[in-house]
C-alpha cells in the first residue's frame, strides 16, 4: 500500500519578515500514506502544507514533490499543482460559477478535457461526495458542509496524486463536520496520498498512518496513531496538546 517517498522536506526554514515560522522541518511522506498534522494555532502547520503545492515559498532547505524540487520562483510549482489537490478552510469555491462549472473549469482549461468528459468526471466526483443532486446550484445556495464537499470534489476532478487539506472542518458548524469527514474517509480508502491539517482527533485515529505534531514551527512528534494516543508511550508535549484540545 505505502510506496516510494513522494514528498520530502529537507531542513526547511521559512520566515515571514523577521518571524521564523518553519524551523528545520524534515518530513517524508510516502506514496499512499495518510498523514495528519496537528498543533496549536500559529505552529506553522498550514504553512507547511502550503509549501507542497507552491502556494508559499520558503527561504532555506528543500521541498521535493514527486522528485521535483519545488520553488515558486523557478516556476516548478506550476507543473506540480495539477498533481496536488488542495481543500481550504474557507472552501474557496468560485461564487459566480455553478457547482458543476466549479468542478469542470480546471479540468477543461488546465488538462484540456472536452466539456462532455469534464462534466462526466465532475458528476462522478460529485456523486462520490453525495452532492450530485446540487450540481446546478451556486455555492451561495449551499450549506457550509455541502460547499466543502463540492470543494473536495472539485479538487478530485483533477485526479491528483496528493490531496492537501487545510483545516477542512474548522469553518463549519458542528453538525456539518461529520459529512465532510465522511467524504474524507471515503477518499482515504481510495489510496490517494493525503496530508491533512486538522484537530479532528477521531478522524486522525481512524484514518491516519502517522500523526505529526507541530509547535512553534518545529515538528515535535511524528508517530503512528497507536503510539500517539497511547498514554504510556506519548511524550509530555503530545499529552499537553491532547489535554488542551479536549478541554
Amino acid at each position: 500500500m505505502v510506496g516510494q517517498p513522494l514528498i520530502r522536506f529537507r531542513n526547511v526554514n521559512k520566515w515571514y519578515g523577521s518571524l521564523h515560522v518553519l524551523r528545520d522541518i524534515d518530513l517524508t511522506v510516502r506514496d499512499g500514506e495518510r498523514v495528519v498534522i496537528c498543533g496549536p494555532s500559529g505552529s506553522g502547520k498550514s504553512t507547511a502544507i502550503y509549501l507542497i503545492n507552491g502556494l508559499q515559498d520558503y527561504q532555506q532547505g528543500e521541498v521535493e514533490v514527486a522528485g521535483i524540487r519545488l520553488r515558486e520562483a523557478d516556476g516548478t510549482a506550476h507543473d506540480i499543482r495539477r498533481h496536488v489537490g488542495m481543500v481550504f478552510q474557507q472552501f474557496n469555491l468560485f461564487p459566480h460559477l455553478s457547482v458543476l462549472e466549479n468542478c469542470c473549469l480546471a479540468p477543461r482549461k488546465v488538462l484540456g478535457l472536452p466539456r462532455q468528459e469534464a462534466e462526466a468526471r465532475a458528476m462522478e466526483e460529485l456523486a462520490r461526495v453525495r452532492i450530485a443532486d446540487q450540481a446546478q446550484k451556486y455555492p451561495g445556495q449551499l450549506s457550509g458542509g455541502q460547499q466543502q464537499r463540492v470543494a473536495i470534489a472539485r479538487s478530485l476532478c483533477m485526479h491528483p496524486r496528493i490531496m492537501l487539506f487545510d483545516e477542512p472542518t474548522s469553518a463549519l458548524d458542528p453538525e456539518m463536520v461529520g459529512e465532510v469527514l465522511e467524504a474524507m474517509r471515503d477518499l482515504a480508502r481510495r489510496g490517494v496520498t493525503m496530508i491533512c491539517v486538522t484537530h479532528e482527533m477521531g478522524f486522525a485515529r481512524a484514518v491516519a498512518d502517522r500523526i505529526v505534531l507541530m509547535e512553534a514551527g518545529r515538528i515535535v512528534e511524528d508517530a503512528p496513531p497507536a503510539r500517539f494516543f497511547d498514554p504510556s508511550q506519548q511524550s509530555p508535549r503530545v499529552r499537553a496538546f491532547l489535554e488542551n484540545i479536549l478541554a
Partner: protein, 381 residues
C-alpha cells in the same frame, strides 16, 4: 466567510398595512394609504401640499409650452412667436438636419439604416442569451464584424453607393459611433491597463501607472486638440488619418484610463483566497483572470462602469471643439438658420429627449443586470 454573508438589501416594508385589521374595498384602502403616508403629520401635510403645488405649476407650464401654445407646420416663425409655445414647425423643418447633420440630404436613408443596424447589434448584445454558449459567442462575434462592416459601407459608400467623405458624418450617427466604439474598445484596453497596474512585472506595472496618471491628469478637450492638431505634425505628410478616427482614439485613450481605475477597484475586492484556489487547481495567470477573477471583479463594478459609460456618451459632444458636428453640434447648426431666427429651445428639447432616453436605458440595463446576477448568486459573497 461565504456561508455567513446575509443577503443584502432585504426589502423593508415601507407602506404599513392599514391600521384597522380588516380588509377594505380598494378606494377606501387608497384613501387610507394617502391619509397615513401623505398627511400623517402637520409637517408631512405641508410638504405634500407644497409638492402638489409645484407639480401643478410645472405641469401647467409644460403643458402650455409643449401642447396648448405650440404650433406645428405650416405655422410661420411669426405665428410661433405670437403663440408663445413650442414651435414644432421649426423642428419639423430641421429634424433631419439635427439627426444627420451635413450628410447629403438625399442619402439620409443610409445613416438612418446604419443607426438601426447599430442599435440592433447593441440590443442583441445586451441579451444574455446571446452569449450563453460558445457557438453563440462565435456567432455574435461574426455578426458584429459583419454589422460594423455594414455600418461603415453604408456611411462611407462603395458597392454602388456614392461615396460620402468622413468629414460629412455628423449628428446622431456620429455620437453613437463615437460612444459605442469607444465603450467597447476602452473596455478591453482598460482591463489590460488594470491588470498591468497590478502586475508583478515592474516594467509593465510602471508603464500602466504612468499611462493612467498622465491621461487622467489631462483634460479631455486638450487630448482632443492634441489628436486634432499634433498627430498630423507627428505623422508623415502622406498619411492622412480622418478627424473621426483621431477623435475616436483620443476618446478611447482618455476613458480607458478612468475605466482601468474602476476595474482595478473591482480586482482589489476579490479576496486572495480566490487566487489561491486558482493556483491550487493548476490554473495559470490568464486562465485565472479570464474565468475566475475578472468575471467577479467586473460584476462588482457594473454601477461605476455604467456611470462612466453614461458620462462618455454625453462627453462625445466635446468633439465640437475640433469642428466635428455631433448631435449637439447639429442642433446648434439648426438654430443658426435665419428662416427660424431666434428659435433654439425646440432643437435642444429634441436632443435632450434623445440623450435622456439613451442614458436612462443604459442605467436601466445596468440595474437589471445587477439584479439578474444578484438573484442567481443569492447568498454568496
Amino acid at each position: 466567510m461565504l456561508s455567513d454573508t446575509q443577503p443584502q438589501g432585504q426589502p423593508h416594508g415601507s407602506s404599513r398595512p392599514p391600521p384597522v385589521g380588516q380588509v377594505h374595498p380598494p378606494l377606501r384602502r387608497a384613501l387610507l394609504w394617502i391619509w397615513t403616508n401623505l398627511f400623517g403629520s402637520v409637517w408631512n401635510s405641508v410638504l405634500t401640499l407644497v409638492v402638489l403645488w409645484l407639480l401643478f405649476v410645472i405641469g401647467r407650464g409644460m403643458l402650455g409650452w409643449l401642447v396648448l401654445d405650440a404650433r406645428t407646420a405650416p405655422a410661420t416663425l411669426r405665428e410661433c412667436i405670437d403663440a408663445g409655445g413650442a414651435c414644432w414647425a421649426f423642428l419639423q423643418d430641421k429634424w433631419r438636419l439635427i439627426l444627420f447633420g451635413t450628410y447629403p440630404h438625399e442619402q439620409h436613408w443610409r445613416p438612418a439604416l446604419a443607426l438601426a443596424l447599430f442599435a440592433s447589434l447593441v440590443i442583441a448584445s445586451c441579451v444574455p442569451a446571446s452569449w450563453a454558449t460558445v457557438e453563440r459567442r462565435r456567432w455574435m462575434f461574426g455578426i458584429w464584424l459583419l454589422g460594423m462592416g455594414g455600418v461603415i459601407v453604408l456611411m462611407s459608400g462603395g458597392f454602388g453607393l456614392p461615396e460620402v467623405p468622413v468629414r460629412l458624418w455628423s449628428g446622431l450617427p456620429l455620437t453613437v459611433l463615437l460612444a459605442v466604439v469607444g465603450m467597447v474598445s476602452c473596455f478591453f484596453l482598460a482591463i489590460l491597463l488594470a491588470l498591468g497596474r497590478r502586475s508583478s512585472m515592474p516594467v509593465v506595472r510602471w508603464l500602466c501607472i504612468v499611462y493612467i496618471e498622465v491621461i487622467r491628469g489631462v483634460p479631455l478637450i486638450s487630448l482632443l486638440f492634441m489628436a486634432n492638431i499634433m498627430t498630423p505634425l507627428i505623422l508623415p505628410a502622406d498619411v492622412v488619418v480622418p478627424n473621426l478616427v483621431r477623435a475616436q482614439i483620443a476618446f478611447i485613450m482618455f476613458f480607458a484610463a478612468y475605466l482601468a481605475e474602476v476595474i482595478r477597484g473591482g480586482l482589489q475586492a476579490i479576496p486572495a483566497s480566490q487566487y489561491a484556489a486558482c493556483k491550487a487547481l493548476g490554473m495559470g495567470y490568464w486562465t485565472s483572470m479570464i474565468f475566475v477573477i475578472l468575471p467577479q471583479a467586473l460584476r462588482i463594478v457594473i454601477p461605476s462602469m455604467v456611470n462612466l459609460f453614461i458620462a462618455m456618451f454625453k462627453d462625445t459632444s466635446l468633439v465640437i471643439v475640433i469642428s466635428m458636428l455631433d448631435l449637439l453640434g447639429t442642433a446648434n447648426a439648426a438654430k443658426a438658420d435665419p428662416a427660424w431666427m431666434g428659435l433654439f429651445m425646440e432643437a435642444y428639447f429634441f436632443i435632450a429627449v434623445i440623450y435622456v432616453l439613451v442614458c436612462a436605458s443604459m442605467s436601466w440595463y445596468s440595474r437589471w443586470t445587477e439584479r439578474r446576477i444578484g438573484s442567481r448568486q443569492s447568498r454568496s459573497a
